[in-house]
C-alpha cells in the first residue's frame, strides 16, 4: 500500500473540523491554540478513535472554544467547570473517551478545586491544559500561572504572586500521566497527547502556548513567531533537566513525559467492580 501523502493526511485532518461551523475561529492569527488543536486532532486520527465515542469538554476562555470547532460530541460549559462536567460524562458513560481542553485560568483559578479532585479520583479523562500564562479572553489579566514579576492588566507593576506548576500539582494530587510540551514542538505534543489518551487514568498534558496579543504585548515578548521561538530556547527535556541545578531551570520549561503510574486503579473501573460485586450477591 502506498504511504499516505501529506495531502491525504491534511484532507483526513480536515474531516475533523465541523462542516457547518463557519471559520475563521475566534482566535487571533498566530495563537498557539491552533497548534494544539492540530496536534490533538492528529493524535486522535493516529489512534483511529470513533468520533461518536469522543466527548470533548471545555470551560470558558479562548482555549475553551476549541471543542466547538471539532466534529465530536462537544460540551462547552461554564468557566472553570469543565472537569466537573467531564467527570459526570465519563462516569455516566465510561465507554466514551473524554477529553478536556482548558485554559490556565479555567483549570487552575476558578476550576482549581475540580482540577485536584479529578486528579485525585484518577478518573480516565485526558486534560489538555493550554498554559498561556494569562487570561486571554477577558483581555490579559493575571492568572495562577502568570510568573512572579510578569505584567498583565491586573498586575500593571509586575505580579506580586507566585505561579502554580500545573504538572507538579497534578502529580501531587494523584494524576497518573503527566507530560508537558510547547507549541513550538508540535510533533512532540501530538505524541504525548496520543499517549495521554491511551493512558487509563487521569492524564494531564500541559501545552505551553503563546498569547502574544496580551502576554506578549504587555511583557514585550514580541509577536507570535518570537514567542514560539523563545519556547524552543526555553524548553529543557526532562532527561536533561534531571541533572541541572534548580537555578539554571528558572524561566525554563521542563518538557517531555514527566510522570506515569500504571499501578493505581481508575475510578470508573473501581466503581464498576462494586456494581458487579453487588450484582453477584443478589
Amino acid at each position: 500500500m502506498a504511504a499516505t501523502t501529506e495531502k491525504q493526511r491534511s484532507d483526513a485532518i480536515l474531516t475533523y473540523l465541523r462542516p457547518r461551523k463557519k471559520f475563521p475561529s475566534v482566535w487571533c492569527a498566530g495563537c498557539g491554540n491552533g497548534i494544539v488543536m492540530s496536534a490533538l486532532v492528529r493524535a486522535i486520527d493516529n489512534l483511529k478513535l470513533d468520533k461518536n465515542e469522543v466527548i470533548m469538554v471545555s470551560g470558558i476562555g479562548c482555549t475553551s472554544r476549541m471543542p466547538v470547532y471539532l466534529d465530536f460530541n462537544s460540551l462547552h460549559t461554564t468557566h472553570g467547570r469543565a472537569l466537573a462536567f467531564a467527570t459526570g460524562a465519563k462516569f455516566a458513560q465510561p465507554k466514551m473517551k473524554v477529553i478536556v481542553v482548558t485554559g490556565d485560568g479555567d483549570s487552575l483559578a476558578i476550576g482549581g478545586n475540580h482540577f485536584i479532585h479529578a486528579c485525585r479520583r484518577n478518573i480516565d479523562i485526558t486534560c489538555i491544559l493550554i498554559n498561556n500564562h494569562i487570561y486571554g479572553m477577558t483581555g490579559g489579566q493575571g492568572s495562577p500561572t502568570t510568573p512572579a514579576g510578569s505584567f498583565s492588566t491586573t498586575t500593571p507593576f509586575g505580579n506580586s504572586e507566585k505561579a502554580f506548576d500545573p504538572c507538579a500539582l497534578a502529580q501531587a494530587a494523584g494524576a497518573t500521566f503527566v507530560a508537558r510540551h510547547t507549541v513550538h514542538h508540535a510533533p512532540q505534543l501530538e505524541k504525548i497527547i496520543m499517549q495521554a489518551i491511551e493512558h487509563r487514568g487521569f492524564s494531564l498534558v500541559e501545552a505551553i502556548s503563546n498569547c502574544h496579543t496580551y502576554y506578549g504585548r504587555l511583557n514585550k515578548s514580541g509577536d507570535a513567531v518570537a514567542m514560539i521561538k523563545s519556547f524552543k530556547e526555553r524548553a529543557v527535556p526532562v532527561t536533561k533537566a534531571k541533572d541541572m541545578p534548580a537555578e539554571e531551570l528558572v524561566g525554563k520549561f521542563v518538557v517531555g513525559n514527566l510522570y506515569e503510574n500504571n499501578v493505581k486503579t481508575e475510578f470508573c473501573d473501581e466503581y464498576q467492580k462494586m456494581v458487579d460485586m453487588l450484582a453477584a450477591r443478589k
Partner: protein, 378 residues
C-alpha cells in the same frame, strides 16, 4: 395476591425511591443538612441497580456532573439545601439554556447564609424561579407529605424529560425528615416519560430545532449525533449567535415551551372550595396545617377552603383566578417573609383581600396559628 408494599419511610428516602421509580440512574451531590439522606440513599441504592452515585467536591461540581450525565442519556438528580442551591445556580442556568433535563432537590432550611441548618423554611421559593441570571421560565414542585414526595419526584422527572428542562423539587426540612407510612407504586402503575429522541439521520439533525411543541428531540452523546452543547446563546444548530433574529426565538422557546403548557404542568389540591368565601393558599408543610385549620373551621360553620399548590412554578394564574372567583378573602401561609403572596396578589382582582400568615423562625405554622389568622380577617 402480594401485599402492597406499605412502609414507614422518611421524606428524603421517599425522594430517592420516587427518583429510582422514575428512572434515575445518576446522582451527584455534596452533603448538606437537611438533604443528606437523599445522597446517602442514592449511594446505597444506585450501584445495586447498575446506576452511578458520586460525591463531588462541592455543589457546583455536583450539578455540573448531573447535567453532563443527562447529556449522555442518563436521568440524573442532585439534592441540596440553601447554601448548596445558591452555589449551583450558575450551572442551573446552563441547564436551562442547553435545555438539559435534570432534577434538583432543595430541602429548604432557614437562611440567609448558613442560617438554620436543622430548621424548616420556605424561603427559597423565589430563588427556585429567579435564582440564576438571565431570562428563562422555571418549573418547581412542592410535596407536602412523604407519600407526595414519591409522586412529586416522579412527576418532576417526567416534567424534566417532557420539557427538556431542569425541574426543582422544593422540599423542606419537615417533609424531608418526617416519617410516614407510604405505599410504593407498583411498576407500571405511574406512567414514566422519557425524552423524545430524534428520528432523522445525523446529517439532518438540528439539535435545538423549533418543533411544534417547542421541545427539540434530544439524542444521547454516543448515539451518532455529534452536536454542540454550549451555554452561549445559540442557534438551532447549537452554535453561538449574536443575531437578534436567532436570539429572540431561542429565549422565547425557553419561556413558551413551558408557559404554553402551564395547564398540563399545574397540579393543585383543592378542598372545600365549592362554596368557600375564604381560602387558605399554601404549599409544602404549610399545606398540611392549612387543610387541618380549614377542616376545623368548617365544623364551626366558617365557609373556608384550602388550595394547595403542588406546582409552584409556573404559577397557576388561571386556575387560581377561577378557584377564588367567589372568595372575598384569601390567606397565604408561608414559612418566609412573603414570597408566593406576591404572585397571589398579582393574579387576584383587587376586591379580594389578600392576607398573610407568615413565620420565619424555623418553626411551622400550626393549625392554631392559621385559625387565629382566620379569626382576625373574618
Amino acid at each position: 395476591m402480594a401485599e402492597p408494599k406499605r412502609k414507614l419511610m422518611q421524606g428524603n428516602i421517599a425522594c430517592v425511591q420516587g427518583a429510582i421509580y422514575a428512572g434515575m440512574r445518576f446522582f451527584a451531590g455534596y452533603p448538606i443538612t437537611p438533604s443528606t439522606e437523599i445522597a446517602e440513599g442514592s449511594a446505597r441504592e444506585l450501584p445495586r441497580i447498575g446506576g452511578r452515585f458520586i460525591q463531588m467536591e462541592d455543589e457546583i461540581a455536583s450539578i455540573a456532573a448531573v447535567i453532563a450525565a443527562s447529556v449522555t442519556g442518563k436521568k440524573s438528580m442532585t439534592a441540596t439545601s440553601g447554601p448548596g442551591f445558591s452555589l449551583m445556580l450558575e450551572n442551573i442556568g446552563y441547564a436551562y439554556i442547553t435545555e438539559t433535563p435534570c432534577v434538583i432537590v432543595n430541602v429548604q432550611r432557614g437562611g440567609p447564609s448558613t442560617g438554620l441548618p436543622t430548621k424548616v423554611s420556605q424561603s427559597d421559593t423565589m430563588q427556585a424561579r429567579w435564582g440564576t441570571h438571565g431570562d428563562y421560565t422555571a418549573i418547581a414542585v412542592a410535596p407536602s407529605s412523604v407519600g407526595d414526595t414519591i409522586t412529586e419526584t416522579i412527576r418532576a422527572f417526567n416534567l424534566a424529560e417532557r420539557f427538556r428542562t431542569p425541574v426543582t423539587i422544593l422540599l423542606d426540612e419537615v417533609i424531608g425528615h418526617m416519617r410516614e407510612m407510604v405505599t410504593l407504586p407498583e411498576p407500571g402503575q405511574i406512567p414514566i416519560f422519557n425524552r423524545v429522541k430524534p428520528t432523522v439521520p445525523p446529517d439532518k439533525f438540528e439539535p435545538f430545532a423549533m418543533t411544534a411543541n417547542l421541545v427539540s428531540p434530544m439524542p444521547a452523546y454516543g448515539e451518532g449525533y455529534r452536536y454542540n452543547v454550549t451555554g452561549l446563546t445559540h442557534d438551532t444548530m447549537g452554535f453561538s449567535t449574536n443575531r437578534a433574529d436567532e436570539i429572540w426565538p431561542k429565549l422565547d422557546k425557553l419561556k413558551n415551551k413551558i408557559e404554553h403548557y402551564t395547564d398540563e404542568i399545574t397540579k393543585l389540591r383543592v378542598e372545600m372550595m365549592d362554596d368557600a368565601e375564604i381560602a387558605y393558599i399554601s404549599y409544602g408543610t404549610v399545606a398540611r396545617t392549612s387543610l387541618q385549620a380549614a377542616s376545623i373551621a368548617r365544623k364551626a360553620g366558617v365557609k373556608v377552603g384550602s388550595i394547595q399548590l403542588y406546582t409552584i412554578w409556573p404559577f397557576p394564574d388561571k386556575q387560581l383566578l377561577e378557584l377564588c372567583a367567589r372568595c372575598k378573602k384569601v390567606i397565604v401561609g408561608e414559612l418566609n417573609m412573603g414570597q408566593i403572596v406576591h404572585e397571589v396578589k398579582r393574579v387576584l382582582p383587587r376586591d379580594i383581600e389578600v392576607h398573610t400568615a407568615q413565620r420565619y423562625d424555623g418553626e411551622i405554622l400550626t393549625p392554631l396559628q392559621l385559625l387565629k389568622k382566620l379569626e382576625e380577617v373574618m
